[in-house]
Amino acid sequence: MSNLLAAATVAAEGANNPLLPHTSELVVGGIAFAIVLFFGLRFIPKIQKTLAERTEAIEGGLNKAEEAQKQAQAALASYQAQLAEARQEASRQREKAKEEGAVIAAQIKEEAQAEARRIVEQAHAQIEADRQQALASLRAEIGTLSVDLAGRVIGESLEDSARQSRVVDRFLEELEGRAGRQEQITS
């Protein structure tokens, strides 16, 4: 193994011309180059194929991603359009409902007012009627009572209705006059 670590064991014989190739080394070099080329030509096409496939795969992936993005954008646009339409529709409905509500409210209010007025008027009329009735019956009764009383007091029969009525009216007028005076005094 001495010729592994140091050269020049043949230095004494004189150095070879370094520009002249050794035949044995040409043969060895040729075989060596043939061997590496065998491996190279066998295995390098594989990586070339893989690199080409990778390029294709990446390109395909990019195209697919682009497609997907386009689809997503289209979907988004359509959803947004639908949403806007729905919002518009909703606001339209709301507006309509508000208007209708106002109309209904006004109607109800008017009806209620009319009803209230009617009830009040009815009540007034009823009261007036009752009063008139009460007044009439009171007047008749007072008249009868007064006549009975007066007849009994003065013993005079006042059968004649005309006279009777005249007497009563006079009496009542006196009464009203008295009441009027009294009111004037009290007030």
Binding site: L4, L5, A15, A32, A57
Partner: protein, 266 residues
């Protein structure tokens, strides 16, 4: 081991041509094994490393790379984009198996120059530079004739169109010599000479360091020894760069020669 360092005993001798004379690996071995020298062993190792690298990286390539495939791909893409494509363009892929293998093989043979124990770049023996250069030369001729026809190829190189008639008197002999005679020679010698000179340079500084620091340690020689030692380290880094660069240049030239054969130069 110390033959070259103290062959004469007392005096310092700079290493010379004997650095490249390697006898049989087994001096007392049989006659049929005399071809097995250290440079041959280094070439065999370079073959093994190249083959193992190719097999490990590219045997079962995955679409999503892992481990060795990542390294292999990075190297492949580097060679393709930096060396093959500038010269060959869209033809680069077709010649990448050859170019990448050549690059790796030469690179590993060169790196043997700085790997401890090996420490000899195989192409510092010119035969190992001649072989790939010769293959490239033959490829260049065959591809040129195949793609442009026998007459077309030589006419395209020797008589490039669009020049004044008189120029051809000078140009044609120059093209003939430079393309068909000097080209393979320079292609091989550029690689060989760089590795050869680099090895001598490294051996020189290493010998200086060893001689002045260990063999003959003297106060006067100490500084020289330290300088030799430091320069050995610096030059080892420099050689690593040169070795990579030469593999790169060899491959770039190969690509450009092939490109010249595929299409007539305009």
């Amino acid at each position: 081991m110390s033959d070259i360092l103290a062959a004469e005993g007392k005096e310092f001798h700079a290493p010379g041509m004997e650095l490249f004379d390697w006898g049989p690996l087994f001096p007392g071995g049989p006659e049929w094994l005399t071809w097995l020298t250290k440079p041959v062993l280094i070439v065999a190792l370079a073959v093994a490393v190249t083959a193992v690298f190719l097999v490990m990286a590219f045997r079962r390539p995955q679409l999503v790379p892992r481990g060795a495939q990542n390294v292999g791909e990075a190297a492949y893409v580097f060679v393709r984009d930096q060396m093959a494509r500038p010269a060959l363009g869209k033809d680069a892929e077709r010649f990448m198996p050859f170019l990448f293998t050549t690059f790796l093989f030469i690179l590993f043979m060169n790196y043997a120059g700085v790997i401890p124990v090996l420490q000899l770049p195989a192409p510092s023996h010119i035969a190992f530079a001649i072989v790939p250069a010769a293959v490239v030369y033959v490829m260049m001729l065959v591809l040129g004739i195949k793609h442009q026809g026998l007459g077309g190829y030589f006419k395209g190189v020797l008589f490039p169109p669009g020049l004044p008639k008189g120029i051809y008197v000078i140009l044609t002999p120059i093209e003939l010599i430079s393309t068909f005679v000097l080209r393979p020679f320079t292609h091989a010698v550029r690689l060989f000479a760089n590795m050869f000179a680099g090895h001598i340079l490294l051996a020189f500084f290493a010998t200086v360091g060893y001689w002045f620091l260990i063999e003959k340690l003297t106060p006067a020689g100490f500084g020289v020894g330290v300088l030799g030692f430091l320069m050995t380290i610096v030059m080892t880094g420099f050689e690593l760069f040169i070795q990579s660069l030469q593999a790169f240049i060899f491959t770039v030239l190969t690509a450009s020669y092939i490109a010249g054969s595929l299409h007539a130069e305009h």
